[in-house]
Amino acid sequence: MRKVYKGPTEALAGLLRDNMMIMCGGFGLCGIPDELIDAVQASGVKGLTIVSNNAGIDGVGLGKLLETRQVAKMISSYVGENKEFARQYLGGELEIEFNPQGTLAERIRAGGAGIPAFFTKTGFGTKVAEGKETRQFDGEDYVMERGLFADLAIVHAHTGDTEGNLRYRMTARNFNPMMATAAKVTVAQVEHLVQPGEIDPDTIHTPGIFVKRIIAVNTGEKRIEQRTTRKRNDATPAAAAGGGTH
């Protein structure tokens, strides 16, 4: 039980300082550690570098940290769903480092797995490769990318046990598992906090070793960024919902 904390403020106590790097799980608003983000905002720490695929929307998720100007730099793949972000970015108040989504995911995975650098085809010949080492392997061109390791990772899971073992739900998994491995300290918020042994050990996504502190949260009504539906009488074929590629 030594990993279980009462709430988000307690779970982040002693871990926050100005100018630190924080990884924040989630894709869009799906699987974001909303209560932990709120606690970071309440702490008032500034100059943060945030590693997150997206930057939330106005007033929700990381959008909150932008409103209070606590973020100095974002390392992301797709942003600008909120006006405050665009305002700060265009005004030069906020730095952004764009990473292809897969490169971002792999950099985080590498950081957590003791891989300081790796090669990928992604971005060769584009702005993303500028200033980076490139190299041929077996006649194909690749770019060298570096691992990422943060001071703190905050993640959201569906179920967690008091040992820190985590299980995610559906596409709310996204960046959370890699981020949990890639920081000096990882704090998890979970919708269901259970006892060790209650999660089938073959189905644990994040072993407890990666999670230093854990809290139970009541997520209430989770936010949906783009509510898309079909009518009851719609005979859309089974595979009819499109994917999205920005």
Partner: protein, 219 residues
């Protein structure tokens, strides 16, 4: 005349094969899922971490934990599996996806693709586009043949060289526009080839609206 968005999607669907794993981009590519032939098994990948994407949910059944890469609510199928974004892009970069269908701002005759930023405009980021074009075995672009500018003029989108920042180099295999279909020999020196005309479209019209060089081998 030319093809409608739906007709372009239907043409793109002809690139599907039974057993394919496919990633569809936003816009017209999304419509392709409506044209998967009955009885053909095509599993759609969503790069945020899902294989086997189902249709949009019925009203009232939206699940905030189940979204596609466009952040839209979707549903699962019996074939569905979920995985992390790292595993998802391992799948993409590792060449396991058979086909990616996506939109574009510009395509060059050598297969270069630009579809993520316009200098001087707010840049939102490339998301997964660079990984998809670099990693997926076959990349099909579906786009309008020309760009319509604010002043009413038109600009070619099929070019000798892209002037917008690239998403990938030597990545596009096939381009489907409202006017016709082009193949591109992206890794070789075979260049670009016009292989189909849309209904009622002439070779002359295409020539007038295409800056890039191409051969004509109509099927």
């Amino acid at each position: 005349m030319a093809w409608t968005r739906e007709q372009m999607a239907a043409r793109a669907a002809k690139e599907l094969e039974d057993g394919f794993y496919v990633n569809l981009g936003i816009g017209i590519p999304t419509l392709v899922s409506n044209y998967i032939p009955e009885g053909m098994s095509v599993q759609l990948q969503s790069e945020n971490g899902m294989l086997g994407m189902g249709p949009f949910p019925y009203e009232g059944e939206e699940d905030p934990d189940l979204i596609n890469a466009g952040k839209q609510t979707i549903t699962a199928l019996p074939t569905t599996s979920y995985f992390s974004s790292a595993d998802s892009f391992g799948m993409i970069r590792g060449g396991h996806i058979n086909l990616s269908i996506l939109g574009a701002m510009q395509v060059a005759q050598n297969g270069d693709l630009a579809n993520w930023m316009i200098p001087g405009k707010m840049v939102k980021g490339m998301g997964g586009a660079m990984d998809l074009v670099a990693g997926v075995k076959r990349v099909v672009v579906v786009m309008e043949h020309v760009a319509r500018n604010k002043d009413g003029t038109e600009s070619a989108k099929l070019l000798k060289e892209c002037d917008l920042p690239l998403t990938g180099t030597h990545v596009v295999d096939l381009v489907i526009t409202d006017l016709g279909v082009f193949t591109i020999d992206k890794k070789g020196d075979g260049g670009m080839t016009l292989i189909e005309l849309a209904d009622g479209v002439t070779e002359d019209e295409i020539r007038a609206k295409t800056e890039g060089e191409y051969k004509v081998e109509l099927k």
